[in-house]
Symmetry: D2
Subunit: 321 residues, 4 copies
């Protein structure tokens, strides 16, 4: 089969390397360049085997690729998306720059694939969602769309992520010696930047709820688990019904009979969801768990899922389940 | 100085060994026996150095001790508390058996030291609190006592604990290979046994709230962090004021200006608390963080703190801060 | 394509589950049963996704399989190998029972694939090597075969393994709380049972050397690294030459220009080898590093590699590199 | 009691903070300044509790201290040692700058306390040993001093250290995501800088041996374990005798009956040693294990041990055992 040439900008970070690894094992996509400014000229090992050699981002032959993944840092990505577009390449942007709720997103589909599939199919540019936003929205949207949440209520979200979610940057607070045997919250009081995306989608489905979102840093490399308590408008008999009806036939959604563990979604492009009722409370309340691998369904995996759609391919190609 | 002889029943588990270690470094207490049925005759290294040799529990010379710590399993402890009492020894029971809300607790002070100090001082038996209950109650009681919580509201508690909280038992789900690089909830839907203690104290202060408590297992040996979102009756100007007025002069309470990290309380008999307001919500809401070392303030440390009081000693003796 | 039915005995342990996972993703093999006595009737999640439901070992339909993998415990495996053989099935035995140097191995090829490929091809039974033995022998055999080692010398081997190498058993010393933030040697003084296999192969190539083998337990789930210092008969100009000539075209051997890291071989059926000269020593000495994933090239992966050969398939089918 | 004022230069790194923590709990020493250039004006939490606020190194009031600990980086320390000396302060230098074998060490005692106690007592400047050197030399010197090693032999040392041994620096290879679930060698082929110290002391005892030293990076915060195989001049009946006669009454040396585990020396200023004979080798060989906490006996603890001696105090003051 004729391969489709694709490139990766900002390929040396955790998400960028994961995109390269997925492309190298993809049956149709062909990696024609991988750029990284600080590591230009160097090679890196990819997760699961294989290596990639980086070129300088300025030297990236954008016109050689039919689709470009941009894993450049937030703020630096948008101008490169435009350059790549100018050569006619399609773009999946993994930064926040073009995401809904972040200002510059007019007409650019938000790449939460299961929710925006029609808009993504054939789009020129897709803004790939944040890892926390993916975890939370896949867990909440069925309840909100089906008007099951108590109007005006606050949804309480405690989420925890492995350190690769913070990127491949030489930060003292991400050293092994600072993270091992530790657990802490950060971005507290509703200050995390992924809240914009979450709220934008909540608004779009017409839901009248507040979100209280508290992320935590786990002593793990990968994985996000969101634990959400949701006040309901009325008791619900079958706790999993909202997700079954909404996502029951989705290839990358796993509806679980027990709370998901992050290890069970590691290295896989899936979101795993479990819901259960809370006993001994006056307002009927659902406890919803949603887990992903932050580098797969939370970044590189969903990016390839979107690229498959944009290029008219089978959405599941090259993605581990 | 004349030393006070004390013994430990069920000393081979994590909490029991920590009690032994604290006693060995205590300036006044003297360890006269440490019992453990399955490891009788064996020696164990203690955290921080030192060793202990276990005798069979049936062979424990209860009458040689002025105070006995029971770290026996839940269900097995109560009868040994009675035997030790029959010899005239005072008892600190670390099991759930005699805790408030668990049925058999008539007249037995609940050993949340900062909250029940007067009852503990001079008591014959004290029921040492659960690790999660300690974390949660130290974080919530000031708000509840001061009538700052929205009446009828639900308080949302996501807590995470290191694995030693589950005890020193040969369980497959606690193997290193199952816990590393993993994060998961358990005891979900308000089913955890520490809820009884929590609710009993909430009721005692006359608060009309629901608790929604979801514990998680961390890939760490030690540490508990509780992240609690609390709907308020009215906005609060100074988020830390409730704890400052209540616990400001407590030797084992640290009021922090940033969210506590579990490593900062490791191996220390302290609870560290931080509170902050939540932005962009209709109901004024406080985010409260409370962190302890589950084996210290959550078990052995608080047990020694209580023993110090029961024996008329300085409450802080032999306890690392 | 017509699938080949295979079964797994003792499938609930780490190696057994890894074999099941590989079979489920294998393009030709078809898993017709997976047995586990203590977990009969239960389901387990497999690494990388997928689930398996165990039947009792006594109920395993041995005659339905053309090849059986036995991951039963050491001592319990041999009789089941015989039962499976009696039904005409081929067998790959992952236990020590039938390995060279362990007594019962007459005529049964030792499944170190790259070294015994011809004997394995078409064999009825293959004894899959131990994980340490695989790591060490792939690192040493080229030097020994090519007569590069100082005759009569001792080869010093310090090896370290992740905890899954110790199996999926409820042992207190394998609890997360005992392994995290710890490192220790075990089986010291040349007492580890894999030494028999190592020595048997060393003898077979006619090498006159002693082995000093010290295994250690790493706070990781997976991975083995062997660090070996080898006194040479004469200086060697090109440190990697012995492996290049011996394994240069092997699909599952990676010759690396820097010391291998265990994460780089995780979840992959490869051995990665690096050698370098030691400065400032009188006897010319080579430092050899060999790394594998103990559950892949050290157990399940090599078992499938051998099964592929025994069944006349492409040796690399279904194996992640 | 009158306290002795001391200061710490370069206090923001792992070793520097550990020194500050020890001083804050020391019964006699009083911390009068802690300097750190990049973090001047900031506060840091110390291991075990307590905080410290850093001043700029240039602003350190050297003349206010009777003894100064320098934990400045290698290369930057020597000139500050001289400045502190010019004010009359005694100095314990934790860098390599003044260590034996590193060029500038004329007349400056090497602070391996148990080996150089007389020279350290009353010295003006002491060069605190490297963490690996401490581990290795405490394990080897008794054998070498007692002429038990085969003359001309090579001693094979495989050592592994937790990441804090590499310092508190924003290095990509020390990020949690790079270290967790990983194990690797570094500084291979006898290139590690601590070899100079090791060889200098080996020479001083007149031993004719080669050292082959291979360090590894552990996925732990703390702890060093050295595994050493030592060819002997003659068989030895009592494997632990050499250490018992040499270190039997040392307060900070633990002679163990089983191989030491790094967790058992964590947060303690001790070296734990075990030796055992190797079976099935022609040259009688001893396997020697030596373990320390790299930040305690390997850095800050030994520094305080030396400071105690230099100031005429009880050597064990303020040091956890």
């Amino acid at each position: 089969m004729h391969k489709i040439p694709v490139g990766v900008l900002g390929a040396s970070g955790y998400a960028g390397r994961e995109v390269c690894a997925l492309i190298q094992r993809h049956p149709v996509l062909d990696l024609v360049f991988a750029s990284a400014n600080t590591q230009a000229g160097e090679s890196a090992e990819l997760p699961g085997g294989g290596t990639v050699t980086f070129i300088a981002t300025d030297a990236a032959p954008l016109n050689s690729a039919r689709l470009v993944f941009s894993a450049l840092p937030h703020g630096a990505s948008q101008s490169w998306v435009e350059r790549a577009r100018a050569t006619g390449a399609r773009v999946v942007d993994l930064s926040t720059d073009l995401r809904i709720g972040n200002g510059a997103s007019d007409g650019i589909p938000y790449g939460l694939t299961e929710v925006r599939r029609d808009a993504i199919r054939g789009a020129d540019v897709v803004a790939n969602p944040g890892c926390y936003a993916t975890t939370v929205l896949m867990g909440l949207l069925p309840l909100l769309e089906q008007r099951l949440v108590q109007p005006g209520a606050a949804i309480h979200i405690a989420a925890a992520s492995g350190v690769t979610g913070a990127g491949f940057a030489p930060r003292l607070d991400l050293l092994f010696g600072e993270v091992t045997e530790n657990f802490r919250a950060y971005g507290v009081g509703n200050t995390h930047r992924h809240l914009k995306e979450m709220r934008a989608l909540v608004r779009e489905v017409g839901a009248d709820v507040d979100l209280i979102f508290t992320p935590h840093l786990l002593p793990t490399a990968r994985g996000i688990l969101a634990t959400m308590t949701v006040p309901l408008a009325a008791p619900i008999a079958d706790a999993m019904a909202p997700w079954r009806s909404r996502f029951g036939s989705e290839p990358f959604v796993e509806l679980a009979s027990t709370p998901p563990e992050t290890r069970h979604v590691a290295h896989r492009n899936v979101v795993r969801i479990h819901a259960t009722r809370v006993a001994d409370v006056r307002v009927p309340t659902l406890l919803v768990f949603s887990a992903i691998d932050n580098l797969m369904k939370g970044a590189a995996g969903q990016a390839v899922q979107n690229a498959n759609l944009m290029l008219g391919l089978d959405e599941t190609l090259g993605l581990p389940r």
